[in-house]
C-alpha cells in the first residue's frame, strides 16, 4: 500500500477559521457525549417505568408496555431516526413544526431528533432488563413488603427496585455503552458528532487512515472509561453478604 502516513495532521489547520483538526474531534466527542447522555436519561427513566409496568398485576398496563417494547425493538434504529427527523416534524401542530424547522438551528433540530430517537429505542431495551431484574427476585420479597403494609408503589420503591437495579447493572452497562456507539447514527442527519467529524476530517485532509484510527481510539477509550465507571458503581452499591459482596 502506497500511503503517506502523517500523524501530525491533527495539529494542522483545517483551513476553516483558525481551527486545527483536533478541535473537530473534540467538538465531535462533545456532541457524542451530549447525545448519549441525554438519550440515556430518557431511556433509563422511561425504560424503568415500562419495566415496572410489565410486572404489574392486571392486563392494561403490561400490554401497553409490551406493545411499546415490540414496536421499538423490531424496527431498525436508522429507520426510527429517519422517521423522527423527516416524518414526525410534519405531523406536529404548525407552530411546533415551524419552530423545529426554522426556529432552532439545524444542529439543534438534529440533536433533538436523535436524542428522542435513541432515548425511546434504548428505553425498550432497558425496560426488558428492569423487568427481568424484578422477576428474578424471590416472590416472597413482594409478599413481605405487602405484608408490612407497603402500597404497591412503596413496594417497588423501597424493596423491589433497589434490588432489581443492583442485579441488572452488568446488562445495563452494555446498554449504556450501546447508546454511545449508536449515537453515531446522528451523522446521517447532519449532526457533527464524532463520526461526522471523522468523515469530514478524512475528506478535508485526505488522511483517512489517521482520522479513523483516532476515532476508533476515542470510542474505545470512552467506552472503556464508562465500563470502569459502571464497575465502580456496581462495587459501591454491592450488598454485604450477598451476590458476591464481601462479608
Amino acid at each position: 500500500m502506497n500511503y503517506h502516513w502523517d500523524w501530525g495532521i491533527f495539529f494542522k489547520s483545517t483551513g476553516v477559521g483558525s481551527e486545527i483538526y483536533l478541535n473537530w474531534f473534540v467538538s465531535g466527542l462533545g456532541w457524542t457525549i451530549a447525545v448519549a447522555l441525554a438519550g440515556w436519561a430518557i431511556a433509563l427513566l422511561l425504560g424503568s417505568v415500562l419495566g415496572v409496568m410489565r410486572t404489574l398485576p392486571g392486563k392494561l398496563l403490561p400490554t401497553i408496555a409490551t406493545t411499546y417494547v415490540e414496536l421499538f425493538r423490531n424496527v431498525p434504529l436508522l429507520v426510527q431516526l429517519f422517521i423522527w427527523y423527516f416524518l414526525v416534524p410534519d405531523l406536529l401542530p404548525t407552530p411546533l413544526e415551524m419552530w423545529f424547522k426554522q426556529g432552532i438551528s439545524p444542529a439543534a433540530s438534529a440533536y433533538l431528533s436523535v436524542v428522542v430517537c435513541l432515548g425511546l429505542f434504548t428505553a425498550a431495551r432497558v425496560c426488558e432488563q428492569v423487568r427481568t431484574g424484578i422477576q428474578a427476585l424471590p416472590r416472597g420479597q413482594n409478599n413481605a413488603a405487602l405484608a408490612m403494609g407497603f402500597s404497591t408503589a412503596q413496594t417497588y420503591r423501597f424493596v423491589l427496585l433497589p434490588q432489581a437495579f443492583r442485579i441488572i447493572i452488568p446488562p445495563l452497562t452494555s446498554e449504556f455503552l450501546n447508546i454511545f456507539k449508536n449515537s453515531s447514527v446522528a451523522s446521517l442527519i447532519g449532526l457533527m458528532e464524532l463520526l461526522a467529524q471523522t468523515k469530514q476530517t478524512a475528506e478535508f485532509s485526505a488522511n483517512i487512515f489517521e482520522a479513523f484510527t483516532l476515532a476508533t481510539l476515542i470510542y474505545f477509550v470512552l467506552n472503556m472509561s464508562l465500563m470502569g465507571f459502571m464497575a465502580w458503581v456496581e462495587k459501591r452499591v454491592r450488598i454485604p453478604g450477598m451476590m458476591g459482596g464481601s462479608k
Binding site: N143, A144, A147, F150, P240, G241, M242
Partner: protein, 247 residues
Amino acid sequence: MSAMISINNVSKWYGDFQVLTDCTTGVKKGEVVVVCGPSGSGKSTLIKCVNALEPFQKGEIIVDGIAVGDPKTDLPKLRSRVGMVFQHFELFPHLSITENLAIAQVKVLGRSQDEAREKGLKLLDRVGLKAHAHKFPGQLSGGQQQRVAIARALAMDPIAMLFDEPTSALDPEMINEVLDVMTELAQEGMTMMCVTHEMGFARRVAHRVIFMDQGAIVEDCDKDAFFGDINARSERARQFLSKILQH
C-alpha cells in the same frame, strides 16, 4: 373472648383446581392456633388469605371486624396491623438489620426515624440480636434472620401474628432459637396463627390445632383433644400424626 380472625366458608381456586374448600375456623384474641397438614394441603394458602396476599373467590375473612375480601378495605392499612413471618424470612437483603426494622414503621406508620430506630433496637435486643444491628441479612444465619423477621413484624405493634412455616427452612440446630421466641410471644398473650410441622411446639404452646388435607379443614379442636384422644381423630389425621410424631 372475641374472634380476632374469623374465616367463614372460604373457597379458592387456581383456574379449575380447587385449593381451598369451605374452610371455616377462627382465632380468638390471645389464642394460639397451630395449622398443620401434609404439603399441598392448603395451609399456607389459607394463612396468606388472612392478610390478602392470596385472593379467595368464595366466603369471607374478618380480621378485627374488617372484611378482608371487601374491595373497599384499605388492604395496606389492614396488613400493617397484622404481622407476618415467612418460611424464607424475606428480610430485605439490601437494607441493614436496623433499616429492616425501621423502614415500615417510618414509611407506613409515619413514625420518626429516631423513634423507629429505638423501637427496632429494643425488639432486636428482645430476640437476642442487638449486637448484629449494623449487619446485613446475608451476614446472619437462618435462625438469626428469622428472629429479626419476627422482631420486624413486632415493630409494627400488630394485633395478631401469622407464621407461615417459620422453621421449615432452618437447620435443625436453629429451630429452637426461633421457637423460643415464638413461645415467649405466645405466653405474653399475642394472638397467633402458625402454620408449622413442629408438633412439640403445638403441644406446648398452642390452644387449638387445625389439621388440613386437600384444601379442607379436617380437624379443628382443642390441643389436648388433638394430641390426647388420638382414636377420636380422623383416619387422615392419625396417619399424619403417626408419621410426624416418630421424630
